[in-house]
Symmetry: C2
Subunit: 206 residues, 2 copies
DNA sequence: TTGGACTTGTGAATTTCTTCACAAGTTATC
DNA sequence: GATAACTTGTGAAGAAATTCACAAGTCCAA
């Protein structure tokens, strides 16, 4: 398959959110135009994005909401459940562990790790915090799919190395630190500082 | 000034982070090559990014770490303090309010709002939670620069409208919901669900 | 059955972003 | 001061992403 751009995948994710909303409201079909209006893009963009994966619409009519959302879930790999571990039980890590929105979308938090002995043994939202040292061993028995890094920037690279060595192939990084990983490992960063600086730039040069 | 791409601004933010790190370690100069290696890009990209704003380097030598980081802070508008309000005192909102990393980078959290009367009056990290109804009035007296939206997706658009009416011109949106705002208002989204779905896609089609 | 109103899917055109490649400037060494 | 080793800044080339524009398919009403 031709390589799909990141921006395309992000938009698919947005489209899916609307489709699920429409599904709930019992709307049967939707046009690329309607989808575009809500996603802040153009109808041509919507059609082009979908065309990488096949042709799902009916000319003159649009797309079946149920069918298209099923296809998008399939494309995005959301038909299965993903096992997620959170590393770092600080403010952010704890908030994420308690945020049930993940589980609703098939991302199941199976463990929380921290390197601070004072935190190990306590529990967050029903999950006992485990020692980070035990990750490689435990990952062997129950391999997690995704590691969420909620550790200080200074520790991020070291933890990432450990995660990679444990065989985990996807990382969601909350630390404001660029990670160096093998290209077989997928990394997405959530960087609030960067987004705020983007706003600062916009306000300054607006 | 020519319009600057989002991707460029994001990279400037990344460069700045490294430069501050180098500054702390007492390194005086750095080349575009070194900057690129750490930022996961190319030296040509670094130089091109900077060239939109002027020429800050010395041929044969590289960039003065102190000078370049000062210029980047200036470009990104980080020389002043920004007044930030957090809207929504749930898990995410509360975690953000307690996260002191923002203040360190000049984003000062001045108030937390919530529409739930049960939460109003309590305090988070020394800030009393105020009623969302009072935002427009209070924003008149002390205009905030940035609103952080940490509300449920269903309420996000409504809250955004209120924020815009209150004269706030920048929004950091944590709700998994595309916001419709006038183009004079800058919006950045932090969408964890979307990032996770991006990882899901990568794992599925990897 | 025909005509009109829609809407998709997709090559081609366009725009935007990234990389190349090199002249020009700087420093260090002998 | 001549030479070698670097490195920047930037037009030009190349690649990638977006938008255009239209043939082709669908539906509906008369």
């Amino acid at each position: 398959m031709k390589r799909i751009a990141d921006s395309t995948v992000r938009r698919l994710s947005i489209y899916l959110r609307f489709l699920e909303d429409f599904e709930k409201r019992g709307i049967a079909t939707i046009s690329s135009d309607e989808l575009a209006a809500r996603g802040g893009t153009t109808s041509a963009q919507v059609r082009k994005d979908l065309s990488f994966f096949g042709s799902f619409g009916k000319r003159g009519l649009g797309y079946s909401v149920a069918e298209l959302s099923a296809r998008l879930r399939q494309i995005l790999g959301l038909e299965r459940e993903w096992q997620v571990v959170i590393i770092g039980a600080g403010k952010i890590g704890a908030a994420l562990a308690q945020y049930h929105g993940f589980a609703q979308r098939g991302f199941r938090i199976v463990a929380v790790y921290d390197s601070d002995p004072a935190k190990v043994g306590r529990s967050v939202d029903g999950l006992v915090i485990r020692s980070l040292d035990s990750l490689p061993e435990e990952a062997k028995r129950h391999p997690p799919d995704i590691a969420v890094l909620a550790v200080p920037a200074t520790a991020a690279q070291e933890v990432a190395d450990m995660v990679v060595k444990s065989g985990i192939r996807a990382i969601l990084n909350f630390a404001p630190q660029q990670l160096q990983v093998p290209e077989t490992v997928a990394v997405k960063a959530v960087n609030m500082a960067m987004e705020l600086e983007g706003l600062s730039f916009a306000l300054t040069n607006g």
